[in-house]
Structure formats: C-alpha cells, structure tokens
Amino acid sequence: MAKKKTEQKKWPEKWHEVNPGCMVFAAGSAANYKTGSWKSQRPLTDNAKCIKCGICYIFCPEACIQEVKDGFFEANLDYCKGCGICAHECWPGAIVMREEEE
C-alpha cells in the first residue's frame, strides 16, 4: 500500500515546536518510516502460478501487499518485514521467500 508522502517535521524540535500534548496531526505519518530495512528475507511472486485470490493481501500485517496491474498482487518492499506469512499462506505456492543478499 503506497502511502502518500506525509510531511515529516523538522527534527529534533525545539520545545515550543513540539505539538501541544504530543498530538500528531498528520494521520498515517508512520509511513515515513520504512520498515523494509528490517527484513532478512523478501517475498518473490511467480505470477504464472498466482490465482489472484487476495489471500496474501488480506493476511499481510503490514498492509504492504497491494493489487497491481491485471489483478496480481505485489509486496511493497519499502515496508515488507519479511515475516513470510504471504508465502506460507499462498495456496498455489506462487510466493517464495528469498534471503536478502547484501
């Protein structure tokens, strides 16, 4: 799920710049933090096997799997933590987890 680029506050803030009560006005601004760096494995989808059921989309805890062209599904690697749920749940085995190479 590609998040719209939300404004990141200048950091670190001076005391009078901190929002009153530590309120955060930018809904969904957590998307500025790319959790993709956490993963040690990444999911690879073989569209030839994909049956477009959407199971990977519904079971991703990061909500980072989104529908792409022609109804296939793809993980946004900026956020994917490599948990492997999508690969494990995929019925036709269209998703496999591959070690991240550095």
Binding site: P12, W15, V18, P20, G21, M23, A27
Partner: protein, 387 residues
C-alpha cells in the same frame, strides 16, 4: 448586586457549574464531596441542563472519562476529595500533559491512614507537581465564582491546562452561607461554549496521547512548565473581567491589613476568614500584624507574594499538610525555596495545624503570633500536638 440566598456551599458549587454549559460530568461520590455529585445528578436528571452524567465506578475512571470527553471536544467536569484524588493521581499529569482543560472541584480532606474524613490539605499537596492549575477558595461565594472562572481559565488558548478548585471539606462544603448565583445569561456571555484546540472526530483524524522518546520528553516538560507559569497572566486577566462583569474582585494573592505589619500570617483556604478575625483582634490591641492569603497555589504566584511580604520581619506560614520526612509543610517549603535567592527576606515560621479536621480558632491564630515572637529558630511547628 444580585439577591443572596442561604445555600449549602457544595450545592452552590454544583449550581455554579450548571450555569457553565458543561457537556459531560463524570463523578464518583466521596465524603465530603458527595453533595456536589448528588446535586449535579439532581440537576441533570431534572433536565435542567443538557449534559451527559457518567456515574463512573471509581475516581480513576472519573478522571479518565473526563479525559476522553475533553479530548473529544467536550467541556468536562468532575469533583472528588482525599482518597479519590489520590486514586486519580496517576492520570492527573497525563491530563495536563495532553493539555485537556478539565475542571475539577476538590473537597479538601485528610488522606488515609488513618482514615479521616475531615478537612485538611493533605490530599491536594501530593498533586502539586501534576501540572494542574490549583486555586483555593475561602468562602461559598468564592466557590461559586472560581468554579465558573475555572472553565474560562482552563480553556483559554494560551493556557489549555486542567484546573482544580479547592473547597475545604465540611469546613466549607457543608456550610450554609448567604450566596449570590450569577444569572445564566451573564455567565453565558462570560463563558461561551468550548472551542477546542483539537478534538477527536473523523472529520479531522488526529492522534492524541502519543508517547515521547528521550529525545523529546524534556521539551514537553518545558512546554508544560511554561504554559503553567504563563497561565498566571490569563488568571489575572479573567479575575479582572469577572470584577467588571460581576463586581467581585479576586487576586492571586490577597492581602488583609498588611500595611505597616511587622508580622504576617499566610493562609490558604477557609482558615483565612478565621485568621482575619484574629488579625482584627490583635490590631485592636495595637499589634502590627496582617494576613496574606494565597488564592493561587499553582502556578505559584512568586512576584505577588514577594510584593505582599516585602515589609514584614516575620512570616508565619500556615500549612494544613505535612511533607513527611521532608522540610515541613509544603507551602512553607515552596516559599522558603522561592525566597532563597533574595538579599533580604523575613524570618519564616512554619506552623502545621488543622490536620484531620482539627478546628482552627481565632485563639489558635492569636497563639501563633505569640509563638512567633518566642521561637528562635526556623524549624517547623506541629501546632497543638499532645506530647
């Protein structure tokens, strides 16, 4: 000047809040606040005001419900005392940090143990660091007036802090006094409906109560501290507006016959009236004594206090609470710290008295003036303890 009728102070406080267009009241009963809770219930159940009355299952939930209500944009009110205030203790600094302008009446009562339902200030003192504005009332009219003003102060966009109005339990809450309730139309002009800085609603989704990492927490402390200290300006302004509209003038520090006094007594709360009578008696006998009354406890009115005591040689500071194992009474401790850097300061005699509802009479105050003359050092006195 309007009509004065005999009313129990607790009932009057509830009636005053009923004039304030509150949206939500969440109250848990505790002696001696219970008449406030019960009368609020009467007012709402009779349909006299349009507000939600949440009969919460504890004081912790009372202040939590007020927090939720205030965060959602409502004008929220609660009242408590002693053990109830202690149970709220966890949430008080959260509410002030979240800048929620909740108003609360506290019927000052001693804190357990042992269990004691009568008046002293031991319940509000542990909350002095919580970031709440704290006002003290001396009589029923002040309870009415300050209850109404507290909403205006708390909700001011430059303040946005919760406010507690202290009303001595039994000593004041259960007294019947001739009191004047302002008219609804005048109060509505003085206090329009709340316009929140931010509120919880899907039309503009925000997150409130987010946590802060070490790199931010200190800045939030500075922000809250600054807001509380600056609130004195707004409190003074609201007091002036009240005087213009309703004819009664309040000050953050009240003085009584301090001119030319070499010994001053300092009090907070209802004992001020008794102390004033003692001052009158002593003045009649030719003694140069006077009275200073702290109306504003937090933020501490430093400049005003210094101005009030600048001529005196001895300052007797009354505390109706003790900071156990510390330097004595909380009020005296604060005053001593604040005067520490001054080139000249009066001799300070801290008297802790009136604990657990023990009555303070005119004779007691006269005796304190005598004791002040005799006492050589500045250690605190636990007045009247049977040894």
């Amino acid at each position: 000047m309007g009509k004065r009728i005999g009313m129990e102070v607790a009932i009057a406080a509830a009636e005053a809040v009923a004039l304030c267009n509150i949206d939500v009241a969440a109250v848990y009963p505790i002696t001696p606040q219970s008449h406030i809770a019960e009368h609020m219930a009467d007012i709402i159940h009779d349909g006299r005001i349009d507000a939600e009355f949440i009969t919460v299952e504890s004081e912790h939930s009372a202040i939590s419900a007020c927090a939720g209500a205030s965060a959602a944009g409502a004008r929220a009110y609660t009242a408590t005392s002693s053990q109830g205030l202690m149970l709220m203790h966890e949430i008080l600094p959260i509410v002030s940090a979240m800048r929620l302008p909740i108003c609360m009446a506290n019927a000052n009562r001693a804190v357990s143990g042992p269990l004691n339902i009568w008046n002293d200030h031991g319940d509000i003192m542990p909350q002095r660091d919580s970031g709440w504005i704290s006002l003290f009332t001396e009589n029923g009219q002040e309870a009415i007036d300050l209850s109404i003003m507290s909403f205006k102060i708390a909700e001011d966009p430059e303040v946005m802090l919760p406010c507690v109005v202290n009303i001595d339990g039994f000593q004041l809450t259960h007294m019947i006094e001739p009191l004047e309730l302002p008219g609804q139309a005048e109060v509505a002009k003085f206090l329009p409906p709340r316009k929140p800085f931010a509120q919880l609603h899907p039309d503009n989704p925000i997150s409130m109560g987010c946590f802060a990492m070490p790199d931010t927490y200190t800045e939030t402390v500075k922000a809250k501290e600054t807001a509380l200290i600056n609130s004195k300006k707004i409190i003074t302004r609201v007091f002036s507006e009240w005087a213009k509209r309703f004819g009664r003038k309040y000050n953050v520090v009240e003085t009584y016959r301090t001119k030319g006094a070499d010994t001053l007594l300092l009090t907070m709360g209802s004992m001020g009236e008794t102390a004033a009578t003692a001052v009158d008696e002593m003045r009649k006998a030719g003694k140069k004594v006077g009275l200073v009354k702290l109306r504003l406890w937090r933020p501490f009115p430093v400049e005003e206090l210094k101005a009030a005591i600048k001529e005196c040689k001895t300052l007797i500071v009354m505390d109706r609470a003790i900071s156990t194992g510390g330097a004595g009474g909380p009020v005296a401790t604060d005053i001593k710290s604040l005067l520490y850097g001054e080139k000249t300061r009066p001799r300070i005699l801290n008297v802790i008295a009136g604990l657990g509802g023990r009555d303070l009479t005119v004779e007691d105050f006269v005796a304190m003036f005598e004791m002040a003359k005799k006492k050589k050092d500045e250690t605190y006195e636990l007045y009247g303890v049977r040894e």
